[in-house]
Structures are given as C-alpha cells and as structure tokens.
Amino acid sequence: MATASVANHDTAAHDHHDHEHHDNFVTKYIFTQDHKMIGKQYLLTGMFWALIGGFLSILFRLQLGFPEMDMSFLRPLLGGWIDETGALDPTFYLALVTMHGTIMVFFVLTAGLSGTFSNYLIPLQIGARDMASGFMNMLSYWFFFVSGVIMFISLFLKTGPAAGGWVVYPPLSALEQAIPGSGLGMTLWLIAMTFFIASSLLGGINYITTVINLRTKGMSFSRLPLTIWAFFLTAIIGLLSFPVLFAAALLLVFDRSFGTSFYLSDIYIGGEALPNTGGSPVLYQHLFWFLGHPEVYIVLLPALGITSEVIATNSRKPIFGYKAMIISMLGITILSFIVWAHHMFVSGMNPFLGSIFMFLTLIIAVPSAVKVFNYLTTLWRGNLIFTPAMLFSIGLVSFFISGGLTGIFLGNSAIDIQLHDTYFVVAHFHLVMGSASFFGLMAGVYHWFPKMFGRMMDARLGYVHFWLTFVGVYLVFFPMHYIGIAGFPRRYYSWTNFEFANMYTDLNMFVSVAAIITFVAQFIFIFNFFYSMYRGRKATLNPWRSNTLEWTTPLYPGHGNWPGEIPTVYRWPYDYSKPGAEEDFIPQTVPLSATPESNLPHEQELVKLELEIMKEDEEVLVANESRHQ
C-alpha cells in the first residue's frame, strides 16, 4: 500500500512539471484546473457578491432607519422603484430582503467561504497535488459563475427579482398574481439555484473524494487538521441535503409552469378561483428546511474549522480536545439533518412533531457548547499573538456564543410562538451564522493570504478593520433582540401601522447608521487585500510559524504544490509549545525520531515503528530512482 502511493506521487509530480510550461492565460487564470486558482476565483467572486449583498442591505436599512427619507438620489440606480415622492417601493423592499438573503447565504457564505477554503486548503493541508478531479472542480466554479450571472440579471428585470423571502415559500413564490417578483424574477431564481446546486454537488463530491483518497503518507484521519475535518463534514452535509432543495425547486417549477398542485390548494386570487386542489404549502417548507437547516452548518462548520486552526496557531498551544472537537462536529453533522422542522413550529404542522423537533433541536446545542468551551480552554494559558486572523477568530467565538444562546429560546417551541418571525430571529441568525461565518471567512483570508499571494496583508489595517467590524456587527444586531422581544415582525416595510410596534424609531435609526459604518469599513479590507496583493511585504515561507503542510510549499507553489516529493507526515498538526522542544512549534513533517527531547511516552514507542517505515520508503525511493535512470 505504502509502496503504491509513493510511486503514484512520484509519477504525478513529473506529469505536473510538464503541464506547467504549457499554461497560457486562459488555462492559468480562467479555465484553470489548479485548485489554488479555483479557490481564488471563488474568493474573488464571493467578495463581489458580498459587496452586492451588503449594499442591498444598506438600501433597506435606509428605509427602516429613515422611513421619511427622500430617496430620489437613488433613482439613477433604482429607477422606477423610487416613486415620485422619493419613497422606496414596498414590493422592491421585499425583493431587496430576498436577494440579500439569497446572495449572502448561498453565494457568499456557501460558495465564498466553503468554496474558497475547501478548494484552497484541502490539497495543501492533506498533502495532495490537486483535487481528485481538477476538471470537475473547474466545472463546479463555472456552474457557480453561471448561477451568479443569472441571479445578477434577475436584479434588473422590470418586474423585479424574486421577492418572497429567501425561503421562497409557495403559494407566494408560485403565483405571479401575488407579487410581480414571482414572475420572471422567480424563474431566474430557480434556474440560478439549479446551477448553484449542481456546482455545490460537483465541488462536494470532489472534496470528499480528495480527503478520503489523496492524503499523503502518514496523514491518517486522526492527524488531519480540524479545518479539513470541517470541510469534509461540510461536503457530506451538502451532498446529502442539496438534492432535496433541488427536489423542492423542481416541484415548484412544475406548480408554476405545468399546472401541477404539489404546493397549491384552494386559492382564490385576483378575482378568480384557481383549479389547484390537494397540494400543501407545508410540504414545501419541509423540503426546503431539510436543506435549509443543514445549510446553516454548511456555512458555519468551515468557519469553525478555520477558527480552530487559527486559534491553535496563534495561541501557540494545541487545540484543546482535538478528538472532542471532531466528535462535536460529527454530532452536529448528524443532528443537523433531524432538526429542520424547528423552523415550522407555528406553520400549522402537527404540534406533536413540534415536540419531537424541540427535543432534537436542543440536543444540538450540546456539541456546540462543547466547541465553545474547547476554544476557551485553548486560549487559557496560551501565548496569544493577535494577528488580524486571530482577532477575527476570537470575534467568531463571541458571535457563536451570543447567537447560539438565543437559539435556545427559538428551539423551544413554547417560547418560539411569540418570537417566531420577529427581529429576535433576525438577530439570532445574523450573529450565529451570518456574522460568525463571515468572521471565519475573514480569519481565513488574513491567515492564508501569504500562502495565496506570497505577500503579507497589512496588519494595522487589519486591526482597524476588525475593531470597526466587530463593534459594528454588535451595534447592528444586538439592538435587534430588544426590537424582537417587543414583537416587531420581520420583512416589514414600516411598523407605523401598528400601535404595539410604533416605537423604537430611534433604535432603528441607530442600527441603520451602524450598518452603514460597518459596510463602509469593509472597504478598508478591500483596499488592504488588493494593495497587499501587489505591494504588500514579501511573506516568509511560514509567517505564522504553523505546523500544517501548506507552509512547506514554496512561496509561489506551482500546479502540483510541491516541486519534489510530497512530504510525509509524522505527527498531528497541533504540536505547539511542546515541553522540551526548543521552538514553540513542530511541523507535521518532522519525524518523532528527530525530536526525542520532546516526545511523550507513547510517542517514544512509535519512534521504532516510524524508523522501520522510513527505511522501507528509502528502499522504494532508491528503487524508483534506478528505474528512471
């Protein structure tokens, strides 16, 4: 077995050397099959979409914070959606909310986060030349790109983009009579999502295959960095749940275009009774949330994986409870599939189901709690270096706690009766999945930028970016808890129609101002990113003095990652500050036999075995060399 894998790597290396010379602009930057470039493509596309998604939220925050404002100055951009008096159109308000959600959840936090780092890090951290199928990987990006183009076009339709909320519940999303966005806008939404699902599946299959099959010698599952564990489990969740969203969308397409009645029944609209009977809107909700809830973990797990890596490295300490972290993630993965109906406590489904899903939902809080305690213990008695990535990771843990705890309210069906679809929910998921995942994304960019572009990002700008964003996010989303407890419903264009909600105009204004400042602060990052790409300080090979394999590649790794042999792995990735060792880190490629001074008793026993294996390898290598000559 060992012989075979070494031989394979050897020939692969030679193949890739040949390829490199034939790369032209198109194959290197556009239709590339190099996982590193595909990762960067995902990152840049994700950043583009994050700016669009963020900008849309600023538009509706203007409406919510300053309902009296004259928005005529936006007319060059929004045209007819601003009426003669300078007010935003209420239908377009819903479209803005819908597109903000869709873009952020799918394009930014799924593709931009998981797509970027799964692609970029999996081969580098497990010691592989590339993904299992470079071609499928390329397809995955370009399906995502097409999906984005279609969604982007839908923003400019005369009838507007989809406007039924990012969950696009039928009948609203099925009937053009109900809202204009459910016409062509919704059709494009469905087509775009179909491409997106195909893209996710192509990517996911690749991630799973690569992690299982292409790990380098010695890289057992129990030596995988937690990032890889997170990406691996994320891919499994995606692979099992995205097809269900596809099924839901397909049935919706049938209802919209071919007169079926999967979701439609007993509808009288626009002065006529529709012929559909026997369908159930609740069926759609079940199907949607069967993806929709795992989706939360699809965006969150990669962020948690990145954080584990960054916190361990910059605490100069092993991550506390490596095995417990893996078991928690496994637990979250499995449980994520059986909690979906907690989004539907008051949807009219059988209350008995509500009881079951309440029990299951609150179980999932346990592994999440374990993860938080493990992060805290990792920080405890560490030697903390506050790189921007470390700051964002600590910020993530804070959001994960704040947003996670409010989940305990919402997962309790009795309490959820009042809080469901209020701003409490908005506060909850923006903290726990939106901001936490976004901070994971940022931590990842700051941490792996030197590997991606061979240069350092400016740390000071990173600090400013972090503090503005961290404080900003709390100022935006923390007040929403109060608004939510007061019962303010979501997706409201204005609250002045109701006495119970005719207050907190000051707080809403405050939230909007905070949102604008936070959004503007992101341009510090954009500047830092592009400026550092060309003019940043040259990076050293291992700037964070980290243990994982990606830092053993050259400064500008070519297609194939390592110019010579792929390094062999001899230890887990978290040997930081090991007692007896001279440096405060021991990379995974350092054999145990080379560090007798710091080996733990059980490791000392492994040394003998390790030496035997190394000797065998040596022989194989010599044999190979002689064959080539």
């Binding site: 819903l94 605490s315 509500g354 560490g382």
Partner: protein, 342 residues
C-alpha cells in the same frame, strides 16, 4: 459647489490617511518591529478586548434595564404568562452563560498575551473536563426542554368544547372575521363559492351557515376559552396577536387553529397602561406581498356578559344581504327565511 468642496475634502482626508499609513509602515520597517513575533499592537489589541468587555457590558445592562417596560409587552392571555415565564427563565440561564463565557473570552486575551520569555502550556486534552461540559449543558437543556414541552403540550391541546369559535381568514392584504352565530358551529365553505358578496366562500346550503355573521373587529370575552380557526384565501399569512402571545400560520387549503384564554379586557388594559387609545392588535408575520406590513386587525376583549349581549345584536350574512339566500334548496331556504324574519 458644495459637492465639489465635499469631494475635495474627502480627497484630502484620504490622502492624509494614506500618508500616515505609509509613514507608519516605513517607521515599523526601520524599527524592525515587523520582524518581531508580536509587536506593540499586541498589547493594544489585548487592552481593547477588555475595553470592549466593560463598555459593551455596561451598555447592555444600562439599555436592558432602562427600556424594560418598552420591550416587555404586557401579557393578556393565560398561556402567555407561562411562555413569558419560560422566556425569562431561559434568559437567566443563557444570560449567565453569556456573561461567564464572554468574561473569560475577553480576559484571557489580556492575561495571556504574547511574552517571549513565556511558553504556552501544552495542554491537549482532558477527558474529564469534556465529559463534565457535555453532561452539565445536557442536564440544563433537558430541564428547559421538558418545561417547554409541557407548556407546548398544554397550549396545543384540543380546545375545550365550550370555546367560543372565531374564524380568521387572511387574504392580500387584510383579515376577515366570521362568527358561528348562536349554534357555535361555523358553516361549510368552499373557495370556489367566493364572489364579491360572499368573500368567505360560505356554503349557504349548509344549515350551520345560516346564522354565521361577520364583524369588523375581533370581539372576544375575557376569562373564557376562545378558539381561533385560521385559514388563508390566497397565499400564506400568519396571525400574530403579540399581547396574547399567539401566533399561527394561515395556510391556503389547510385550516389551522389556536385556542387561548384572554385575561384582560381592552378597558382594563387601557387603565393599566394609562393609555386610553390602547387596542389589542393582530399583525401578519408570514411574508405575503406588497401590503404585508399593513394587515392590521383589532381585537376587542370585553366582559362575558357584554359579549353575550354583543353576539345577540349582530346581523347574520343573510340578514345583511338577503340575496345570498336566493336559489337555496327548500330546506335551508326555510331556515334562511326564519333568520331573515328575526
């Protein structure tokens, strides 16, 4: 002119920031601090975490206490008292976890900031600890779940026989209300029967529908069980009565229900709040289109005696519009005529 001046000002500001940034970078290169593992910024960031902890914490406590009466809506139903109590118990539990974890999360960065002379302690795992902090949250959560489950079961149990029935139907963009009349049984309906004069689609061949009537506001008695039968005519809506702690989706093709016991009349609540204008309200909480934010309905809670009196005064659909009785089969026609002659 102002636009031009503002533009120049912004440009100036940006170029100053740019200069400061460049000078900073060059100074740090000269000092060699970019070669160090952790520069002076490490300490600043550590201190900022403490500042954030204290500042953010103070802001949170100050606002939570100051605004309590504003965001805590008065309760006007029996089960509302239960769910609110659950809410505040959960708040106490999660609030303490929130505080403890955040104090640790922000104090550790200060306490354990980088020091060249120190080495972090190698502490990779401790199974005992892991087991403790798996089991303890498990037990706490079990407590919360079980109390929540008991409340949920009570709330969603079938309504008592004698509950006063009110049908609430959502459509774009309003609610319509139907009462079952003296027999306390709502007549059948079919969405295909909806016309301009029969917006509920009531089937008047069903004799239970003869005495059904409508009302512009939802009138219900205090202290007696009330059953909302909820349905939708076009898209999803959701009945949300914040003071009643009541929420249930209105689904086309699938009637839903929610029963509760109101505990305070509108008049009592007005007195309690010192607000003579106060009204109980229903809002829509499931996005339903352009007018989603304007689906307001008023609930009026009155004393049971006044409720009986009010019921007796109401005019049925047939009385309001005798043409509805036209073309009915003989048996129901007779009932309709009796109703008309009341």
């Amino acid at each position: 002119m102002y636009g031009f001046l503002i533009g120049v000002g912004v440009l100036l500001l940006l170029s100053i920031i740019w200069m400061v940034y460049r000078i900073q970078t060059l100074v740090s290169v000269v000092k060699g601090s970019d070669k160090k593992v952790a520069s002076g910024s490490n300490k600043i960031n550590a201190i900022l975490f403490l500042v954030f902890l204290v500042g953010g914490g103070a802001l949170m406590f100050w606002y939570s206490i100051k605004e309590f009466d504003n965001y805590q809506l008065p309760i006007a139903s029996e089960h509302g008292a239960v769910t609110d109590q659950l809410f505040w118990v959960t708040m106490a539990v999660t609030g303490s976890v929130f505080l403890i974890t955040h104090i640790l999360l922000f104090i550790f960065p200060y306490k354990y900031q980088y020091d060249e002379k120190r080495k972090a302690s190698f502490y990779p795992d401790n199974n005992k600890l892991e087991i403790i902090w798996t089991i303890v949250p498990g037990i706490v959560l079990a407590g919360l779940v079980i109390s929540g489950w008991m409340a949920w079961s009570d709330i969603t149990a079938p309504a008592p026989e004698e509950a006063h029935v009110v049908e609430i139907m959502g459509y774009q963009f309003a609610w319509e209300v139907r009462y079952p009349g003296t027999d306390n049984v709502l007549g059948d309906y079919d969405y295909r029967l909806i016309t301009a004069s029969n917006s509920h689609g009531i089937d008047f061949t069903d004799k239970n529908s003869i005495d059904d009537f409508s009302s512009p506001v939802v009138v219900i008695p205090k202290g007696e069980p009330v059953l909302f039968k909820i349905r939708a005519r076009d898209v999803l809506h959701s009945v949300f009565a914040p003071h009643m702690r009541l929420k249930m989706d209105a689904v086309p093709g699938m009637p839903t229900r929610f029963w509760f016991v109101p505990t305070k009349t509108t008049a009592e609540m007005r007195e309690e709040l010192g607000d003579p204008e106060f009204q109980y309200e229903i809002a829509c909480t499931e996005v339903c289109g352009r007018g989603h934010f304007s689906m307001r309905k008023i609930i009026e809670v009155i004393e049971p005696e006044a409720y009986q009196k009010w019921m007796a005064e109401q005019k049925s659909f047939i009385q309001m519009n005798p043409s509805l009785a036209e073309g009915l089969p003989a048996e129901t026609k007779e009932l309709a005529e009796i109703e008309l002659n009341k």
